[in-house]
């Protein structure tokens, strides 16, 4: 085993350059941005350099004899690392123009540090190292959202608490896993999900899916879409959290544990995924702000990945991981597109936007391509990965999960038809008649990502081979036997779903007096569904709001029931009875000599009785 300290570079380089960037004064902001870009670029080069090498290890002592600092770069981790560095580079470039002043400096710093921590989490080869980097991301998550504006700290806390809760669940899962296997190291052989291992598995799943943004710990994402900078949304909930969340989900399911297709844990995971798809996409459909709309899609797409991996079948797993990559690409680009529009118009409200395509053709084109990709339009990348997931879930024999994916496909396409239509086509808003396309640093990242959406469709074999080869090392599945024929009845159903979505949009558009942003109102106003939507908008189903309410009541009960009661008992029982006792004693000391003499005699008699009796 070679001990290669080059593995420290993907962690140290971004973190150190982040700190340096923070120290560079504002007047040299170009130097700062250039340095950030350069370090990201060097990171890409380093990881590309590692690409063809064998599995590399780095091991050194850490703080306890049982806790060593061990890193490992196998095919799967290198694959994820490469994409983390690419996204980090593109978002840094984007933020160059999008953000200015102190915010820009902080953003770049947090971005680089996040990138370093994420690389650490991906390279980790023991549970402790993983937890260290994984949980450290909480700090930058909080700081990123606080950056958004005056009142964004509330959302930052929400994100911190929800993700922190998931992280703590993961810690518990890891501690139980340690008890089972007796080591913090990643296991050589997966553990069967039975007995105490079930608890460990469930806790770890809550940890990883929560980080990736699945239900029910997702509710900070739509709030952050409004409060946090859009570049953050493109970077963290858009790309990075999916990459590392699903990366770890794969390891948990196939390296730590042995997820058997059709088992209770597999069905449980697929159910979680399906619920995430349907509930989140339903919420996305009715949104009238494009950033909020995208944020719900950021949640619903995670559902597909979880369904895919939850199948435990090669097609599903590869599809789930491919979908993770695809989603990171188009979701990130879509957020960047929304940010690009916001940069010029100052709004992301669908009601006030319209007809921007002629003024912002590049942004519009990229947005539309990515919207089509996320909706699973043939032949873009989203189509391929979604098909693989649907095939995988059908192969398990439970059609219900495939149906959930199709419902997701209909509503996804309908909501993106609405968003694209309302932003770039239809009636123009005179207020924005002078709006122009953004400059290179904003358009270029979107362009690259949109091209990848196109390229990874027809040439899906390239990423899929990389995924199959790298994941096979982790999961032990044979991916080569599964040749996916895309032209089959299943794809036919998917295409029918898309046609239905188009008709739904068209109908809604006409019904609402040709106002694209109201196209989804036909669904929104359906009886029962309307009530559910209203409850959801009032955050009745928000686990954070309800959780905080519960903790508040619980705390008040603890406070008055125990804390104050203990104090009251002390004050009343000890202090008051003490004062009474003192007064009683005082009353028998009246200062008369005869009284004291009587006491002395009484004492002597008691001593005599005591001595003779015992």
């Amino acid at each position: 085993m070679s001990n290669d300290s080059i593995l420290l570079l993907p962690i140290i380089l971004p973190v150190v350059s982040g700190i340096i960037c923070f120290c560079i004064p504002e007047r040299f902001f170009k130097l700062r941005n250039f340095l950030a870009l350069l370090s990201n670029f060097v990171l890409i080069l380093i990881i590309s350099g590692l690409w063809h090498s064998k599995t590399i290890y780095y091991v050194s002592d850490w703080f306890m004899s049982t806790a060593i600092f061990s890193l490992k770069a196998d095919g799967f981790s290198k694959f994820i690392l490469l994409w983390i560095s690419i996204f980090s580079f593109l978002i840094t470039l984007y933020a160059w123009s999008k953000m200015t002043g102190l915010k820009s400096r902080q953003f770049i710093t947090y971005l680089l540090i996040t990138c370093g921590f994420a690389c650490g989490a991906v390279l980790a080869n023991t549970l402790l190292v993983l937890l260290f980097f994984w949980e450290a991301l909480l700090v930058t998550l909080y700081l990123f959202i606080v950056l958004g504006g005056e009142n964004s700290y509330r959302t930052a806390l929400k994100a911190f608490v929800l993700v922190g809760f998931c992280d703590f669940c993961f810690i518990l899962g890891a501690a139980i896993y340690w008890k089972i296997t007796g080591s913090f190291d990643f296991p050589a052989k997966p553990v069967q999900i039975e007995g105490l291992a079930i608890l460990s598995f469930v806790m770890m799943i809550i940890g990883v899916t929560g980080k990736a943004g699945a239900l029910p710990f997702h509710t900070w994402i739509p709030d952050a879409a409004i409060d946090a900078p859009v570049s953050f949304m493109a970077f963290l909930p858009g790309a990075l959290e999916k990459l590392i969340g699903i990366y770890l989900l794969t390891r948990v399911c196939f390296q730590f544990f042995h997820l058997i297709p059709g088992s209770g844990s597999s069905i449980g995971l697929m159910t979680l995924g399906s619920l995430t798809i349907v509930i989140a996409v339903s919420m996305a459909l009715i949104q009238k702000d494009v950033k909020r709309l995208l944020s719900y899609h950021a949640i619903s797409q995670v559902g597909y990945m979880i369904v895919g991996i939850g199948t435990g079948i090669p097609a599903g797993i590869a599809g789930g991981i491919f979908h993770m990559l695809n989603n990171a690409i188009y979701k990130s680009a879509l957020f960047l597109g929304a940010g690009s529009v916001e940069h010029r118009t100052g709004t992301t409200d669908l009601k006030s936007l319209g007809g921007l395509y002629s003024q912002m053709p590049l942004t519009g084109l990229c947005f539309v391509i990515c919207a089509a990709a996320i909706s699973g339009v043939w032949p873009l990348n989203g189509f391929v990965s979604k098909e693989m997931i649907i095939h995988g879930s059908l192969e398990t024999g439970y059609k219900i999960f495939a149906i959930a994916c199709w419902i997701g496909a209909i509503l996804t396409f309908a909501s993106f038809l609405k968003a694209s239509h309302a932003m770039f086509f239809g009636e123009k808003n005179n207020k924005f008649s002078n709006v122009k396309e953004n400059n290179f640093s904003i358009v270029f990242p979107m362009g690259v990502l949109a091209l990848l959406c196109i390229g990874f469709g027809p040439f899906s074999r390239i990423p899929l081979n990389a995924i199959s080869n790298s994941v096979a090392v982790v999961s032990g599945h044979d991916f080569s036997t599964h040749a996916l024929n895309l032209f089959n009845p299943v794809s036919g159903v998917t295409i029918l779903c898309l046609i239905f979505a188009f008709l739904l949009h068209r109908y809604g558009y006409l019904k609402s007096g040709k106002k694209a942003y109201l196209a989804s109102e036909v669904v929104h106003r359906l009886p029962v569904i309307n009530t559910l939507y209203n409850l959801a908008e009032r955050k009745i189903f928000d686990i954070y709001e309800q959780g905080i309410r519960f903790i508040r009541v619980f705390s008040i009960a603890l406070y008055y029931g125990f804390d104050r009661t203990a104090d009251w008992l002390y004050e009343r029982l000890v202090v008051e009875s003490g004062v009474k006792a003192i007064n009683a004693l005082r009353s028998i000391h009246r200062g008369f000599v005869s009284g004291y003499v009587a006491w002395i005699f009484a004492g002597i008699i008691i001593i005599i009785i005591f001595t003779f009796a015992f």
Binding site: D61, W62, F63, M64, S65, T66, A67, L128, L131, F132, F133, E135, A136, L138, V139, N151, Y153, R154, L157, F160, V161, G164, F165, F168, C169, I171, L172, A174, A175, I176, W178, K179, L196, L199, I548, I551, R552, F554, S555, I556, A557, L558, Y559, F562, D563, R564, A566, D567, L569, Y570, V574
Partner: protein, 478 residues
Amino acid sequence: MESSFFALGTIFVPVLGCITIPVAALLSKGFRNLWAMVLATITFILPVFLIPAVLQSPSGEIVYRYPSILNLEFILLIDGFSIFVSLVSSFIGALIVLYSIDYVSHNEFQTEYYTMVILFIGSMMGLVFSGNLIYMYLFWEIAAICSWRLIGFYRVPSHIIKADKAFLITFFGAVVMLFGFIQIYGSTHTFDMTAMRTVPVSSLAVFLILIGMFSKSATFPLHTWLPDAGVAPSTVTSLLHAAVLVKIGVYAFARLFCYTFKIPVEWNIAIPVLVMFSSMVSAGAAMVENDIKRILALSTVSQIGYIFLGFWTKTLTGVAGGALFILMHGLAKAGLFLCAGIIEHGTGKRDIRELGGLFTSMPFTAISFLACILSVIGVPPFGGFFSKFMMISGTVEAGRTGVASMGLFVAVMTAIYLFRLFHAVFFGEKKTDGHEGTSLMVGIVFVLAFLSLLAGIFISIPGSFAEASAFHLLEKFK
């Protein structure tokens, strides 16, 4: 030089040196402050010289015995754990003394203040190195007296009542504990801890001793004096919470129940539930309170529960985690109280409903405050993460997954109430004007916050030390 010299110096430089402070005050105020600082620094430096001797010792500990009255030997017990705790306490204590120079500069009774603070630190040192239960009790009570004088420092009648409360509760606990010691003496005929290793003790004795520890380390239901003690100057509360007073109980717990006695099974079942319940009650109370120092005090009660839990596990991971948390919590909590001191100085207010939007006027305090709360919650890369993780893992290892889950739930509550405090003070609508503290004060809190971070990044240094001390503590129980 003999290591007994350094150990005796660590105890008696502050304990006897504090008497010289009033003499120094006769010369000048500046000299008195400097002299107090010198004493505190020496107290911190001396234990460092004990490390090589302990490392070379084959048994991992050095014991010195000095004959004394009534056949009560004064026993110096020097091992990794006592050095670790003495270093942590004296280091944080020294930083607090340095901060005090600016903080109490406008108050009366400064000479008494410095005298008591140094004696306070000295009593902790004495307790830590005592290998005899009776001397441990003696130093325990000296600390109680110091805390009584210091809590009532401002001489306001209502403060004096709070000081009395603190003294009476801890004194009551200590006396009950003394009965426990005497009960043990009945069967062992010695107070020498080194002679009683792995001796089984009765349930009653454990109960009596626990009352002492719980009262000193402010654990439910004997905890309410600690939030009330918040009337003291912030430096004093910082000292109580981070360096000296509340750490006495947990230190004694580790020393007696990990190193010395074997406790009955029923207490092994009850203790983790008791301490985690205490953590939960105080976390709940912290969520409801509105006074900065009361919230921070309740958070100490809550975090102390973890330390007890870590030591209870008697696993290497759990005990090392507990020892590490004494350090990490000490650094962060000292930082938080000193930040509270700056806020109180700068705005004259302590009620979070009257504060808000101070981030712009106190940026350094705010950043330090944030770093400290992250460490207390247990978020990496801050030091608190490792210690909390180890305590939780140790609990799972000891077979109490339910208690570990409770611990993690309390960690979530900790995050919520500490961020509630942070946000109420530094974010939102600006309700009052404030100014940043003096550069010395801000510098100290910044150092504490930075150390919380460094302790996490370079965890191998305190981590290996904590592991070695935990290993030695548990040696005979393996």
